[in-house]
C-alpha cells in the first residue's frame, strides 16, 4: 500500500504527564484514507490524549506521527499551523467562543489563512463570510448566524463546531467524544454530519465514542485502548459483549444495547 493511502501514521508514541502518568504507552497505529475510525476505551485510557497528540494540542513525549506523509511531530511555527489547519477537530464541550456570534465562531475556522490585521479587528473578507454561510447552511443552521453562540442548544452548538471545522477545509476530522454531552435523541443529528463528510467527501474521521449503537452504525473500523495501549482492533460487526468486556474490564455491562461509561 502506498504512503498516500495512509492518513495518519502513529509510531511508538508515548505520552507521559507529570505524576508520572503514562497516558499513551508505546502506541503504534495506522489510519487509512477515508476510514471512519472509532476509538473506544474507559475515561483515562488515552483516547483524548491520542487525538490531541495527532494535531499536537499535546506534545508526545516520545515517538513520531505523520499526517498524509508529512511529519506532525517536530513541526514548528507556520508549518505546524498549516498542518493543524488541515485537521478539523470537535470537542465534547463544543469549545465555542460563547460570547461571539455563531458566524464569528464559524469564521474563526479560517484564521490560519487570514491576515493578522484582519483577524485582530475581526474583519473577514466577503469571500470568507460567504464560505462561512455555506458551512452553516450545510449543518442546517443557515439562519442562526447572528445569534450568540451560547444562545443555541447543545446539539446546535456542536453543529456550529462542525461548521467551524469545515471552514478549515480539512482533510482529516478528529472528534473527541462529540456527542457525550448531548441528549441521546440529538446524537445522530451531529453524527450524521460526520457520516456525510466521511461517505460522500471521503474525509478521514477519527472519533472517540462510547455508545455501542453509534459504533455499529458509523464506524468502518474500531480500536480499543486500555492504559494507553492498543488492546483491540477490528470491524464494528465483530464487536460484541465479549470484546466489550475485554476493553472496558469485567465490571462493565452492556445495558440494553447502550453503554455509557
Amino acid at each position: 500500500m502506498s504512503e498516500t493511502n495512509i492518513a495518519i501514521r502513529v509510531e511508538h508514541v508515548t505520552t507521559i504527564f507529570p505524576g508520572p502518568v503514562r497516558a499513551l504507552d508505546d502506541l503504534s497505529l495506522e489510519v487509512k484514507r477515508g476510514e471512519f475510525l472509532v476509538v473506544i476505551g474507559l475515561s483515562g485510557s488515552g483516547k483524548s490524549t491520542l487525538l490531541r497528540c495527532i494535531n499536537r494540542l499535546q506534545d508526545p513525549t516520545e515517538g513520531r506521527i505523520w499526517i498524509f506523509g508529512e511529519e506532525m511531530t517536530g513541526a514548528k511555527g507556520n508549518q505546524l499551523r498549516k498542518l493543524r489547519a488541515s485537521i478539523g477537530m470537535i470537542f465534547q464541550q463544543f469549545n465555542l467562543v460563547k460570547r461571539h456570534s455563531v458566524m464569528t465562531n464559524v469564521l474563526s475556522g479560517a484564521l490560519s489563512r487570514t491576515s493578522l490585521f484582519r483577524s485582530l479587528t475581526m474583519r473577514f473578507s466577503p469571500d470568507e463570510v460567504r464560505r462561512a454561510q455555506a458551512c452553516l447552511d450545510r449543518v442546517g443552521l443557515g439562519d442562526r448566524g447572528g445569534s450568540r453562540a451560547d444562545a443555541l442548544s447543545g446539539g446546535q452548538q456542536q453543529r456550529v463546531a462542525v461548521a467551524r471545522a469545515l471552514m478549515q477545509d480539512p482533510k482529516l476530522f478528529l472528534a473527541d467524544e462529540p456527542v457525550a454531552s448531548l441528549d441521546p435523541a440529538l446524537r445522530h443529528s451531529v453524527m450524521r454530519h460526520l457520516e456525510v463528510l466521511n461517505r460522500e467527501e471521503g474525509l478521514t474521521v477519527v472519533c472517540a465514542l462510547h455508545d455501542v449503537d453509534l459504533i455499529q452504525r458509523y464506524a468502518t473500523r474500531l480500536i480499543g485502548l486500555r492504559d494507553g495501549r492498543l488492546v483491540y482492533e477490528g470491524e464494528p460487526q465483530g464487536f460484541n459483549a465479549h470484546t466489550f468486556k475485554e476493553i472496558y474490564g469485567e465490571e462493565a455491562e452492556v445495558a440494553s444495547g447502550l453503554a455509557w461509561i
Partner: protein, 358 residues
Amino acid sequence: MSKGARRSAWRRVLEPFQVFLIDAGLIGLGILMVELLVISFSGRRSPTGFLLPAEEILDLLHYGRAALGAALAALVWGRAEGGVAISPGAALIRGVDAAGPPWTRTLRGWFSFLLAEATFFTGWLVTEVQLMQFLTQFDKAQDMVRGLLNPSSAVLHQGLVLLVQTIFLAFMATAFAIPMAFVIAFMAARNLTRGTFWSRSLYTFTRTVMNLTRAVEPLVWALIFISWVGIGPFAGVLALWLHSIAALTKLYSEQIENIDTGPVDAITATGGSMLQVMRYGVVPQVIPPFLSFTIYRWDINVRMSTIIGFVGGGGIGYILKPRVDLGQWGEVGTLVLLIAGTVWAMDILSAKIREKIV
C-alpha cells in the same frame, strides 16, 4: 523521576536547618517578649522619673543573649523524638500525626499557647494602649467633633471645585492604567507563559516588578512624582496610575489564569497563531471581568485621590491638610462630608455598574 528524587535528597539535607531556624526564631521571640514584660512590670524609671516608654524598653533588651539562648534551646529541642515533646519546627516541616495527643498534652502546644499570650501582652505594651484615656478624656476632642458636626460653608465652593478635580484625577489614573495593565497581564499569566524558558522568565520578571510596585503605597509614589513633575494633580495621577497598573495587572492576570481552556484549544486546533488564539480564545472570556475590575479600581482610586493631596498630589486633600493642621474644624467638617458623599456615591455607582456587566 530523577528530578523528584533529587528534590527529596535536597529536602533531607535542608530539613534540619529549616527545623532549627523555625525553633530558634520562635524561642528567641519568646525570650525577648518575656524579658520585655519583666522589665516593664519591674517599675524601672527613666532618669526623668517617668516609667520607661516602650521604645526605651525595646532598646534595653538583650538581643544577642536571647539569640544565643534560643539557638541552644532549639538545638536541644530539635532532637526530641515522639509526639509529646516534638518541637514546633519539626512539627511544621515534617508534619505531625493527625491522631497525636491534643495540644494541652504536648510541650509544643503549651509553648505555642504561652507564646500567643505573651504576644498579646507585649503588643499591648509596645503600642502603649491606654484604656483609661480612651474612656475618660472625650472632652478633649469635643471642639473638633463639634466643628465636624457644624460644617462651615466658607470652603464649600472651593471644596466642590477640587472634588471635581479629585474624581477626574482618579479617572485619568485609571484610564492611563487600563491599556498598560491589559498588555502586561498577558505576560503575567501563568497559563500563557509556560512554554519556553524566555516566557517563564518574562512571567517571573513582570510578576516581581508588579508586586514591588504594588507594595509601595500610592502616597509614597506621589512623593516621588511630586519631585519629578512638581506639586499638583498630575503627580497624583501618575502615582495612582502606577499603583493601578500593578493592581489591575494582578487582577487581570488572575482572571486570565482562570479561563476555560476549551476555546483556546479549539482556536489552536484551527491553526491559529499565538495572537489569534489570544484574540479569539482568551480576550472574549476576560472582557466582562476586566470591565468589572476596572470600575472597582476606579472606585478605589477615587478613595485614594481624596487623600493623595495630603502630600501635595492635588485634589481635595490638598486643602484639607492645612485646615487640619490649623484646627479649622468647621471647614474640615465640610470637606470630610464632601469626601464621604463622593466615596459613598462611587461605591453605589460601581456596584450597580458591575452588577449589570457580570
